[in-house]
């Protein structure tokens, strides 16, 4: 399947939306620590999506510079050097493709993030 077509597909929007919600759920469950039983369901959902080839990548804490095109970033603060992702509005979603070239991933949703200079903190 052509990844460009997949990504551009309107049909994919609900799936991407579900994956974003799953990411949010995961984030909240992790934050609320005590809900371990809930975390298992989230993990299973993530595993199920992974089986289908969809991988959620959390860019929180990753470095950002102008060569990264997997993120749509808003820069907070005044400095634009030594940037790091401090807020994730949408995670990066990759599709695992298996074909004659082997197994590789393609980005089907870029992460939407806020980045800040480490020097701001």
């Amino acid at each position: 399947m052509d990844v460009k077509q997949i990504s551009a597909s309107e049909q994919l929007k609900p799936l991407l939306s579900a994956l974003c919600q799953l990411y949010e759920l995961d984030r909240k469950v992790q934050k609320l620590g005590e809900l371990e039983s809930l975390a298992r369901h989230v993990e299973k959902m993530k595993a199920a999506f992974e089986e289908l080839g969809y991988r959620i990548e959390d860019p929180h804490g990753q470095s950002f510079n102008e060569t990264r095109v997997d993120l749509e970033a808003s820069i907070a603060g005044s400095s634009t050097e030594d940037l790091v992702v401090t807020e994730v509005i949408k995670p990066i979603i990759r599709l695992v493709v298996r074909d004659s070239k082997g197994e590789y991933t393609k980005i089907i949703q870029r992460g939407v993030v806020v980045v800040e200079s480490r020097n701001n903190n």
């Binding site: 299973k44 060569t67 990264r68 603060g77 807020e87």
Partner: protein, 829 residues
């Protein structure tokens, strides 16, 4: 027929798009990075890179001395933009040319257009128009035709709808985009389309609406919930404590705005710390009327501009055919209703407002003949002859970045290069080519990273392409890859045997982790000695498990359970293999709760004496079965091999029973090795038979199902069958019995699915089930069901007959077969 231009570009103040006319239809191209149709008209110059589009926009506000946007407003002026990082100035023409060149990269067919139609605002004068044309020539187009934006939008409408008589009429094109607003009066007179008048506001658009939502709805709500001295300042000020939240809230507001175009209310999720360090967490409900209240003044202002045009041209609203809505912000219902309400002119929303202009330009281009006469251009076109590239880099790396360098022989003057990673996560941006270039390429972990280096001429057209492959975390250190498959042993209830399910394939990069869910295939009564075995073996997953090397078994013992574990319960398994090949199995038994986990390392190889004895028993039984079959089929060659195997297996059996359960010597390992070797020989001797058997079974099933699908299959079933047949050349030549068996099973399921729609089949099935009436578990229920089934047959209610059959089937006792122990060897399936 003469050739036509075909390519159209909407070179917008905020965003730009490119499209192509092809045989009556228009394709709007998408950015290969991020797949959006729109490219923000922003250029950033950072660290000797040129970044066009969204990455440039990220730096617009925070690095304004090296980033330029909205340069379209300065087209045709003598003004230029000083770029701090370059220490030189760039003209609006040069910046526009960069945007146009970037748009060329959207064309996925690799076609290099020589001519293009570029749209311009109705307000552009001669100088501004010529400046736009020059930008097109600098971008490498040999012919540039200009088209006014309102005309383009009108053409998009005219081409979309049929039977609309536009001749000798006039209308308004209302264009409210992300950052600018334009309104134009368009008239068609004697077949000629003309812009009569126009108005606009360069600082009004959707982005302003997002900010209004945050400022007037979200911020007051947050302020009520916590302690804030100056919340809005803290958010908006670049040195403010909450500046990062401002962008997060703007993004949430934009999403809410889009949702409110179709829904009457939405929610914004807010989480931030107040001045006292308390976390404010709230889900703010925003209704469409809240949103409309904050943007109403701005929308009314646009109506006012429209009214000005009417007054200036002595027109009444009734003189206009409609107001044609263009620009993403015209999706907002208030914009549509308010314009209609205030001016009484019908609003036309027939075209996609986000790409109408580029679509109109492509339609125009589709009818505009290509006239490639030499045109004057300031751009030089040097000849670069043959470039020789000598690339050097490590093809395997353990680093997160790898240095890539190229030595270039030849004339590099005026050339640029660009490196892209194929997953769409890295773009070096446009950089000037020199005789030696080097770049730190970021690598995705544990993956083959494919990059493309393109050498581009001054028009952004590629003149050389080099592909770069770097394996991260792949080779380099010995022992990083798994040498054999690791598989989980499961019961194969159908065949009364075990089967292997591959967990990690051979050559998987370590460390690796995988999850799986299995079903408990027998009920475990708590407190008893019963157990389930989560067994992992190493070796080819297409072989039988007994020929694989035993890695470890995690025992889920009934003694540790608080209550019975019912058949069918799911167990969540996690398998981890460390770099040093320790295998960790973790089992979570739901709903009883207990968790079991164990680590198995190669240096601490465990052999479970009880399992070993059982496995040897199973092996002996199997050899006897196969031997009898081979003799029966007069396959003496195989029989001979098998006969030779029965002696050592019997010896093994004798030695295994002598082992104590807690044997501490290495004798059990030796026995296990011997067992494995015998199993491998057995597998080898009988593999041809199994594969041949399965192949015939597959072919028989395929022919039967093909016939059935042809007669009674629906489209989906036809597709499913075709998909299996399309791949048969792969699995028919495989040595994996599992894959063949899976496909036979798929075919049989498909067959059953179709047959359940056939009354004859359902009646036959029903009769077959009623013949077994004595064996049903619940005789009363079975009797009632049989009665109901008969009635459904008489009444020809076959849906309900199917339901009866299913329920009767579930009342049948489990098929107890001879090799019961073998069927529940692991207790999972």
């Amino acid at each position: 027929m003469s050739k036509t231009i075909n390519f159209g570009i909407d070179l917008g103040t905020t965003n730009s798009l490119i499209a192509k006319f092809n045989k009556g239809t228009v394709e709007v191209y998408k950015n290969p990075v991020g797949f959006k149709e729109t490219l923000p008209s922003v250029v950033a110059f950072r660290n000797d890179r040129i970044l066009v589009g969204e990455r440039g926009r990220a730096y617009l506000e925070k690095d304004p001395k090296s980033t330029v946007g909205q340069f379209k407003r300065k087209m045709g002026t003598t003004e230029s933009f000083k770029i701090k990082s370059l220490d030189q100035s760039k003209t609006p023409i040069e910046l526009s040319a960069l945007v146009l060149k970037e748009l060329k990269t959207f064309i996925h067919t690799g076609e290099i257009p020589e001519a293009v139609v570029i749209t311009i605002p109705a307000s552009f004068d001669m100088v501004q128009s010529n400046a736009t044309k020059e930008a097109g020539l600098q971008a490498g187009f040999k012919q540039v035709v200009l088209l006014q934006e309102p005309i383009a939008a009108s053409l998009a409408y005219a081409n979309k709808t049929t039977g609309n008589e536009l001749n000798n009429s006039q209308w308004i094109v209302y264009d409210l985009g992300g950052g600018t607003f334009d309104v134009a009066l368009v008239r068609i007179s004697e077949g000629e389309l003309k812009v009569i008048d126009h108005e606009g506001d360069n600082f009004l658009g959707g982005a302003d609406f997002d900010a209004l939502i945050v400022e007037r709805i979200v911020v007051p709500a947050i302020a009520k919930k916590g302690q804030f001295a100056d919340l809005l300042d803290q958010l908006k000020s670049r040195s403010g404590r909450l500046n990062s939240k401002w962008y997060a809230l703007l993004a949430a507001a934009e999403e809410a705005k889009m949702e409110l175009s179709t829904k009457s209310s939405t929610e914004i999720d807010v989480e931030l710390e107040d001045d006292d360090g308390e976390t404010i967490s709230m889900l703010l409900n925003v209704t469409r009327s809240d949103f409309e209240a904050v943007i109403k003044d701005a929308v009314d202002a646009t109506a006012e501009m429209l009214r000005t045009i009417l007054t200036r041209n002595s027109l009444q609203p009734s003189d206009l055919k409609f107001v044609l809505m263009v620009g993403g912000s015209t999706y907002i219902p208030l914009v549509r209703t308010r314009i209609n309400e205030l001016l009484g002119i019908p609003v036309n929303t027939d075209i996609d407002p986000t790409n109408a202009i580029v679509i109109g330009s492509a339609y125009y281009a589709g009818n505009k003949p290509l006239e490639l006469e030499p045109m004057k251009s300031n751009a030089e076109s040097p000849s670069h002859g043959l470039l020789k590239l000598k690339v050097s880099y490590n093809k395997a790396s353990q680093e997160v970045e790898e240095m890539f360098s190229v030595k270039v022989d030849g004339d590099v003057n005026g050339l640029a290069y660009r490196i892209l990673r194929e997953d769409g996560g890295y773009d070096s941006g446009l950089k000037q080519l020199t005789s030696r270039i080097s770049e730190d390429l970021p690598l995705l972990p544990d993956a083959y990273n494919s990059f493309t280096l393109k050498i581009l001429d001054q028009h952004n057209d590629p003149i050389a392409v080099e592909s770069i492959q770097i394996a991260q975390g792949k080779y380099s250190v010995a022992g990083q890859m798994l040498p054999e498959d690791l598989s989980l042993v499961k019961d194969d209830l159908q065949d009364g045997d075990t089967k292997l399910v591959q967990v990690f394939a051979r050559n998987t990069i370590l460390p690796a982790k995988k999850k799986a869910t299995v079903d408990v295939s027998k009920t475990l009564v708590h407190g008893t000695d019963d157990e389930i075995r989560i067994m992992v073996v190493e070796g080819s997953s297409s072989n039988h498990f007994s020929s694989n090397k035993f890695v470890g078994v995690l025992l889920v013992s009934a003694k540790n359970l608080k209550r019975d574990l019912l058949k069918g319960t799911e167990i969540d398994l996690t398998f981890e293999v460390s770099e040093s090949r320790d295998v960790t199995i973790h089992a979570y038994v739901n709903p009883s709760g207990p968790e079991f986990s164990d680590v198995f390392s190669p240096k601490d190889r465990r052999v479970d004496v009880k399992s070993l004895a059982e496995e040897i028993g199973m092996l002996e039984e199997k050899i006897e079965q196969e031997l009898a079959e081979a003799v029966n089929n007069e396959n003496y060659e195989v029989a001979n091999v098998l006969e030779k195997l029965s002696v050592p297996v019997q010896e093994l059996q004798g030695e295994a029973v002598l082992l104590t359960l807690d044997d501490v010597t290495d004798h059990k390992y030796k026995l296990e090795d011997r067992k494995r070797k015998i199993a491998q020989e057995l597998h080898q001797a009988t593999s041809t038979k199994r594969i041949d058997g399965l192949r015939s079974e597959y072919i028989e099933a395929r022919d039967e199902v093909s016939e059935l699908v042809k007669e009674s299959g629906n489209d989906i079933e036809k597709r499913q069958l075709q998909e299996i047949i399309n791949h048969e050349h792969v699995f028919l030549t495989t040595s994996s019995t599992q894959r063949l068996a899976d496909h036979v099973s798929k075919l049989r399921s498909l067959q059953f699915q179709i047959l359940t729609r056939s009354p004859d089949f359902l009646i036959g099935w029903f009769k077959n089930l009623t013949a077994k009436r004595e064996t049903f578990n619940d005789q009363i229920q079975a009797k009632n069901l049989i009665e109901a089934g008969k009635q459904h047959i008489d009444g020809e209610d076959f849906d309900r007959l199917l339901e009866v059959n299913r329920r009767l089937f579930s009342l049948l006792p489990e098929q107890e077969q001879e090799s019961k122990d073998m069927r529940h060897f692991t207790g999972i399936s």
